[in-house]
Every structure is written in C-alpha cells, then in structure tokens.
C-alpha cells in the first residue's frame, strides 16, 4: 500500500545518520603512530666543544678586553689536568688525576673506592678559579688507556668552573735509554 508523500518524509527522518567507514583510516593511524613514537627522541643530546687555539684567551683577544700589560699576561699560568688510568712499574703514573701548575708542586688525586674523585677535582678547580678569576684556558691530557667517559666528565667539570677554552693534549711519553758500560 502506497503512503502519502508526507508520511514517507516522516519515515526518512528517523533513519540513522550515515557514518563514513573509518576503519581503514584507523588502521593507517595505528600503523603510523607507533612508528613515529619509535622515532621520537626522548633523550637530550648535549655537546662538548674543543678548542685548538694556541695560547690563552686573553692573548687571542689582543688585550682588547684586558687593560693589563704583557707582563700581567705572562703571569697567567698554563694549567694541565693529566688523567691516568693505570700504574706503571716506575710509579710515575697512577690511576687518578694530576694537576700541574707552573711554580707549584704537582697536585695528585687518587681514586676513591675505585672511582675517580670528581668531587675533589671540582673543589681543586674551584680553588684555581678563585686564584685566577680571569683564566679561561685549561688543558686536559688523558693517557691512552683512560676511558672516554672519564675524559668527558673532566672536560665538563672544567666547563662548569667557567674555563671556556679547553685544550686537548696527548701526554708525551719519553723514554730515556741508559748507556750500559
């Protein structure tokens, strides 16, 4: 039996709304999102820069920022931190740090409970900073068997104590042959 037009309109009004098929889109999203989450970098990467310039920073600046004469510039010491990992038969090297300053005896820092004593090194660097507030340059010389981690931590401590120019040095090993008569 045919319905009048007004009744047919009424029938259509209650039909459910058409929903597009979202399942393929969901599948695509569920593939892309784990992939992007895998690529997301959560760790923060930092950098440590090295300086290969010779001499002190004050010399580089040509005295522009410092009003001191050449004599005062010469007084700025060359400080070297030597990092050692093993003990040799002569006892010249030991696991730990050696801080060399001109006109001063060697400062040595051994291991503490088998670990490098970075806390004491930090104290020493703070002491050097107090004595030389304008000093920007410091040299780090690791022995060949020192681990990269120890080197980076030492350089990082120097940066923390406002030594902006860090020079990387390889320690010079010299052998002296004794003539046997």
């Amino acid at each position: 039996m045919a319905h009048p037009p007004s009744a047919r309109r009424g029938q259509h009004r209650f039909s459910p709304p058409k929903v597009p098929d979202l399942v393929p889109l969901m599948n695509l999203f569920l593939t892309i999102i784990p992939f992007l989450l895998l690529m997301l970098i959560v760790t923060q990467i930092a950098m440590i820069a090295l300086n290969f310039t010779q001499g002190t920073a004050n010399e580089k600046q040509g005295g522009g920022l410092l009003s001191g004469s050449q004599e005062t510039q010469k007084k700025i010491p060359e400080i070297t931190i030597i990092i050692m990992a093993s003990q040799d038969s002569l006892g010249t090297t030991f696991p730990g740090f050696e801080i060399r300053e001109p006109d001063k005896s060697k400062d040595t820092l051994g291991l503490l409970n088998g670990y490098y004593d970075f806390v004491k090194l930090d104290v020493k660097l703070k002491d050097i900073r107090q004595r030389y507030p304008d000093l920007q340059d410091i040299s780090v010389a690791p022995y060949d068997d020192v681990l990269y981690d120890t080197l980076i931590k030492t350089i990082d401590l120097c940066r923390e104590n406002n030594f902006s120019n860090i020079h990387y040095k390889a320690p010079q090993v010299r052998y002296f042959a004794q003539e046997v008569k």
């Binding site: 929903v19 979202l22 399942v23 889109l25 969901m26 999203f29 569920l30 892309i32 999102i33 992007l36 989450l37 690529m39 997301l40 970098i41 760790t43 923060q44 990467i45 930092a46 950098m47 440590i48 820069a49 090295l50 290969f52 990092i83 503490l112 409970n113 670990y115 490098y116 004593d117 970075f118 806390v119 930090d122 690791p142 022995y143 060949d144 068997d145 020192v146 681990l147 990269y148 981690d149 120890t150 080197l151 980076i152 931590k153 350089i155 990082d156 401590l157 940066r159 923390e160 990387y168 390889a170």
Partner: protein, 184 residues
C-alpha cells in the same frame, strides 16, 4: 507449575528492553589520533636523527647543553666498541683493532675526512667565504679508550676540520651520582 514454563516459551516474543551500552564513538578516537599524529609529525625530524644517540651506543654524560655551531657542515664519526662508521650514511671503516694496527686504514679515513672537509669548504657565500666551517662531531661509546679519541681528533685537525665536538647526554646531576657511587 505451568506458569514459569509458559513465560519462558513466550520470552522471545516480549521485546527486549534496550540496555544502556557504553559505546566509544570511533569519530572521537579518530580525532584523538589525528591530534597525536600532528604532534608527532611536528616533533620528529629526520635531521634530528643525525645527532641523536645511535643504537647500541652509550654516550658519556655532561651537565651543560651546548648546540652545534652549524649543523650544515658537520661530519659525524661514530666510534662503537666494535666498528667505526663515518658520515651521514654511516660508511663502515673497519673495526677499532684494524684502525689501531693498520696504517692504511688510518690513511683511508684521513683521505675521506679531507675530501668531505674540502666539499664543505667549497660551499661559499657571495663574498667568497665558506658558508659553514667544517665541523667534526665525534659520537663515541663511553667505554672507548682515549687513544682512539686522540687519534680521531688528530685526524680531524689534519683534515681541515676547524671545530671538533663530542656528543654527550645531558645529565645535570652526574656529579652528585658520582659522589654517591664513590661512597662520599
């Protein structure tokens, strides 16, 4: 006695009362996923992968963050405990043992570094100066002995690289952790 049986027989004839079902609309879910997708696409960059921590390598830690001077002219050297990879594509240059014992291997690496540095220097601006200084980024595992680092620093400086960076992980509290592990 017959009453329950009768009612059971007619059960299918009685219209069921609609249950209150909790339905999650798929449209809302798609909206959430779209927002998440846009966020992830905005944060993930292919360039970032170049300077991120490579798999199976543990960086040493440092307290301060310092960005690279210029990313454009940067050559990456990756020193794993078992292999050496150089460049964005990670070209294999042998093992650390080969590097230490084979002078030809070192010459090969030096030549490659020189070629890439010269390529970076060829890219000049209007005034004829190189756009970016050649920069060497050393990504090494924390357990690598310093001898290899020293050698690569030496190779880098011999190959016209003006700046040398060491990649590290940011950890502002490593000194405190170090003091604890040393038993202070």
């Amino acid at each position: 006695m017959n009453q329950p049986k009768y009612s059971r027989d007619l059960k299918h004839l009685v219209p069921k009362k609609p249950r209150d079902e909790w339905n999650l609309s798929i449209i809302s879910l798609v909206d959430i996923l779209t927002i998440l997708l846009v966020f992830l696409l905005a944060n993930v960059s292919v360039e970032g992968q170049k300077f991120s921590q490579p798999n199976r390598m543990t960086f040493p830690v440092s307290m301060k963050k310092r960005d690279l001077l210029e990313k454009k002219g940067t050559m990456v050297v990756q020193l794993y405990p078992d292999r050496i990879l150089i460049g964005d594509r990670g070209i294999y240059f042998g093992t650390l043992n080969e590097f230490a014992n084979n002078p030809l291997k070192r010459t090969e690496i030096l030549k490659y570094l020189q070629t890439t540095a010269l390529k970076i220097l060829e890219d000049k601006d209007e005034s004829g100066n190189p756009r970016t200084p050649p920069t060497l980024l050393i990504q090494a595992d924390r357990s690598i002995p310093c001898w290899y680092i020293t050698e690569f620093v030496s190779l880098g400086t011999s190959a016209y690289y003006e700046y040398i960076y060491f990649a590290t992980l940011l950890d502002t509290n490593w000194l405190q952790h170090s003091a604890l592990s040393a038993g202070r």
